[in-house]
Amino acid sequence: LSRAYKSKTSSPCLRAEASPDLSLTTNTAAVATRQERPGDEAFRLLVESVKDYAIFMLDPAGVVTTWNRGAERLKGYRPVEIIGKHFSTFYPDDEVAAGKPDRELEIASAEGRYEEEGWRVRKDGSLFWASVIITAVYDQDATLRGFAKVTRDLTERRRAEQERIELAHAQEAIRVRDEFLSIASHELRTPLNALLLHASALEILLRRVFANQADANGLFDKAVNIGKQGRRLEELIGKLLDVSRLSTGRLSVTPQLVDLVKILEDVIATYLPEAERSGCVVRLSAPPSVRGFWDPLRLGQVVTNLLSNALKFGRRNPIDIAVQVDGNTVQIAVRDRGIGIAPEEQLRIFQRFERGMSPASYGGLGLGLYIVERLAQAHGGSVRVESIVGEGSTFTVELPIVADAGERIANLSTVPEP
């Protein structure tokens, strides 16, 4: 190889012309001048045929002297196009301007090798993320003969790594937000619980003190209303907590044998005063009993959210709740005759913090339907909406009727075994 390295003073152009078909590892001029040992040819062919790594030699000044197939594939140059050119061609302009290529050779000659990952430029100008090793090559007299350069394209790996990092950041951000939500709702609830107890005590005291005074009814109402509004606030905070649990997978569903119709009747009963205020009549049409394994609390939450929505958007028209058993599934349909939901809104309303209406016209956080859908799914069911703007909406929850608790509890419950 000696001649190849000695020729570093010759013009790169001449060198390229002198060996026009250099698809070889070594300079043909060099090969031609000496006796080739059998191992040399095998090694030359080996390096030449490597496709996944660019393997090539630089002379001591950094001029490309050999070029393998991998180098051609990676960087896009054919041997005639690049042999004789300075290797700084492979670096982005700003790095060339900063003297990076020469510095790398300096380090390699001082320390024996230089290794890094960085951006490199292909023939077509595109960038790739390269793993580069530059090894200084010395002859027997310890004279620097040049550098062996091995380059790998790690663009894909880097992209995958970047995506992994971004995903991890996103997940961490969600975790932090949900943890905040969880702590905030707990902290907000604590004084509210005390406040509601005081409101109850106030009501009891007022009724006791003013027991026989007809004109004291206004006082009782005030105490009752403090409690009512406090409970509304509590419910909203509870929804925030549920949402944070839903998204961190900590919401537990504990099925037990319950009568769905009984749960519906209970929920409707608790909503009678509110229904009266909003001017809606709530009608239930259901078989006498539908028994199955569901989480009564979560089922109540599903019905509560649908019914409170119907009351909110129902425009003083009757609300019909219908229960229908169809084979192994039960459908609970809550129908209002209110403002309705535009088709383009109908998917969006099941997402977190999304609302069909502007917050200015109707209150709420936009969490109710999100919770309904997640709870229905946790029971192996689903929810869908049919709606016509101006005519009203029907939300239908479909749940499997599970007659045997065993497997479902094992799968869904996050409550530890006692």
Binding site: L192, N193, A194, L196, I204, R208, E234, L251, T254, P418
Partner: protein, 123 residues
């Protein structure tokens, strides 16, 4: 609390002092006396003095020894294991566990009527 219409006393275990005081005041309206402790360790210390409450109103989410751990400690002490316990919590996740263990549970925010009914049942 200084009412003596009932001989017995309710032990309120609740880490939020304001909530505990509000519970005690509500109970006092129906002439139930109560003692407030802020955590599981204090509760065990009080119970071991020998004063036996007619009922333990037990918050679940407490720092240190939580409500479930206190319940276990009470149940495993032969002198205390027959004291009735009613859980009071906003943690909906606790409801399933309470149901499987048949422990009475009151949901926060506490409904005054329900609370007083439970207390009357035991005291």
């Amino acid at each position: 609390m200084t009412h003596h219409d009932h001989q017995e006393i309710v032990l309120i275990v609740e880490d939020d002092v304001e909530t505990a005081k509000a519970l005690a005041e509500l109970l006092s309206l129906e002439s139930f006396d109560s003692i407030i402790v802020e955590n599981g360790q204090e509760a065990m210390a009080m119970l071991r003095t020998g004063r036996r409450p007619c009922l333990i109103l037990l918050d679940i989410m407490m720092p240190g020894m939580d409500g479930w751990e206190l319940r276990d400690a009470v149940l495993s002490d032969p002198g205390l294991s027959t004291i009735p316990i009613v859980l009071v919590t906003a943690d909906t996740a606790a409801f399933g566990k309470a149901a499987t263990l048949s422990v009475p549970i009151i949901r926060k925010p506490v409904d005054a009527g329900q609370l007083l009914d439970e207390v009357r049942r035991f005291c």
